[in-house]
Symmetry: C2
Subunit: 282 residues, 2 copies
């Protein structure tokens, strides 16, 4: 048998994320499961705010149309707290996996309580103080991005330091927006390396400092795509800055991690754990 240079025909499936709320939980659950399958091309459709049987029937019509289109049986991931809406969706010609259905029963038995079946609890604004905390953390992160302000650093939960483009800004925004953590960030620049110590303004907050470092080659790549052929992106300069920043952090006793192969989520999770910061919001 000759080996073929063509890959076998890829299976295609349409995946629906159906929810009475935003669909964010259904998307995350479905996505985390689908990444476990290779060789399938998934087409995603999110159907949010499905909070009545009428709306559920519109969804069923759409799912069934997709089933008839010949791309295999659709897959539905849903988070529906209302039993009638869930029953209506289950009439679709699809594999239906509802997240509440599978887990609410064992939880009710364990807690000896009935669930409230309240819609929009996960990503609504119903929990005002918690929600407010997230928004304030975002305002804080924006106001304290890239050393923009020295004010209110007393209120910071963490202050990230590192060379330009080591990942400080996206990490601070993630910490604020998703975890409600007040995160500031300060760049480490050549003047700091010449002086041989962290910026004066950060000295009172040494216990809040956490460093990000990055492989010089990756740093060069990122900087080059922003400012091609600049001193900023020069390989020698990138190597110099990273070495100096690491030496400075080591000397000053600042903990750090290497962000090169890590996602924002992995960086944030590591910082939270090492700095013993509690997640303030869910």
């Amino acid at each position: 048998m000759r080996s073929s240079i063509f890959s076998p025909m890829t299976q295609r499936r349409t995946v629906f994320f159906v929810s009475d709320g935003t669909g964010i939980t259904a998307q995350m659950l479905g996505h985390s499961l689908l990444t476990q399958f290779e060789g399938v091309s998934f087409n995603h459709v999110t159907l949010p705010f499905v909070d009545s049987t009428d709306k559920a029937q519109e969804c069923v019509a759409r799912i069934d149309a997709e089933a008839r289109a010949g791309n295999g049986q659709p897959i539905v991931f849903s988070t529906l707290v209302n039993n009638d809406v869930r029953d209506a969706i289950r009439q679709a010609n699809a594999l239906c996996l509802d997240f509440f259905e599978r887990f609410i029963d064992p939880l009710e038995a364990e807690l000896g309580l009935k669930s409230t079946h309240t819609i929009g609890r996960s990503h609504g604004a119903f929990d005002k103080p918690e929600y407010q905390r997230r928004i304030e953390a975002v305002n804080f992160a924006v106001a304290h991005d890239d050393g923009a302000s020295d004010r209110e650093l007393d209120d910071a939960d963490v202050i990230l330091v590192g060379v330009s483009r080591s990942g400080k800004t996206p990490t601070c925004l993630y910490l604020a927006l998703q975890l409600g953590v007040r995160a500031a960030n300060y760049p480490l620049i050549p003047e700091d390396f010449e002086r041989g110590h962290i910026p004066q303004v950060l000295r009172p907050y040494r216990a809040k400092l956490y460093g990000l470092t990055i492989a010089p080659d990756r740093l060069r790549e990122i900087r080059h795509s922003r400012r091609p052929h600049s001193k900023y992106a020069d390989p020698e300069n990138c190597r110099y800055e990273v070495e100096q920043a690491e030496a400075l952090m080591r000397r000053e006793g600042v903990r750090w991690l290497d962000s090169t192969a890590k996602s924002i989520e992995e960086i944030s999770t590591t910082i939270m754990r090492e700095m013993r910061i509690e997640r303030h919001v869910y």
Copy 2:
């Protein structure tokens, strides 16, 4: 029987989110289930990066210690792709609910495929182009916050407009960070109301504009907490700005929503749907 003015003793439970990755999926799924129960006080503990049976056994020791502490049987929400690690965790004295376990089997049967059991797929940086797209969207949102730059608006997926403190910045950052959408935002200010049209620079991008409005009382509250007793936070001024902004958007044919009682997630989901923007990343 006398009715008591005291509420019944609140049940307390410790909840563990255990994952071989960041734990973010386990947290979101667990949280969305727990919000369905009232009258229980949940204490959260996240145990991330549990990717070996040794680490699983450390977790079991910690969970069992909590069980002995007398706050009821712990509840464990886990996302563990490795069967051995999952089996080890199941030895804990707790109600163990694993998300992969419940859903992978029906998916394997439906797709006629075995899952890959690969760790860190959900929130790792393994999918480089997709991950890169999120980071670029964040850089774009930061560079185009609050009308900071008119450059590259051609590249925007959406441009939010609205009065100061109507929710534009957190929404743009959410769209960028979580959904990979390039979102810019422009404030509508008294000069725009006097001129009676949207800022000149936005005219070529009318099809990308989306407005946020807000109840004047809520606007006053938010502005007051930032600048107490200012003209900016004055009730009359807040009412004037909101009325003018809505009239302007109506006249210019800009769609908008009222952000007053909505979360960032609900606002973003609605914008994505109404502007027919596809989610670029998961």
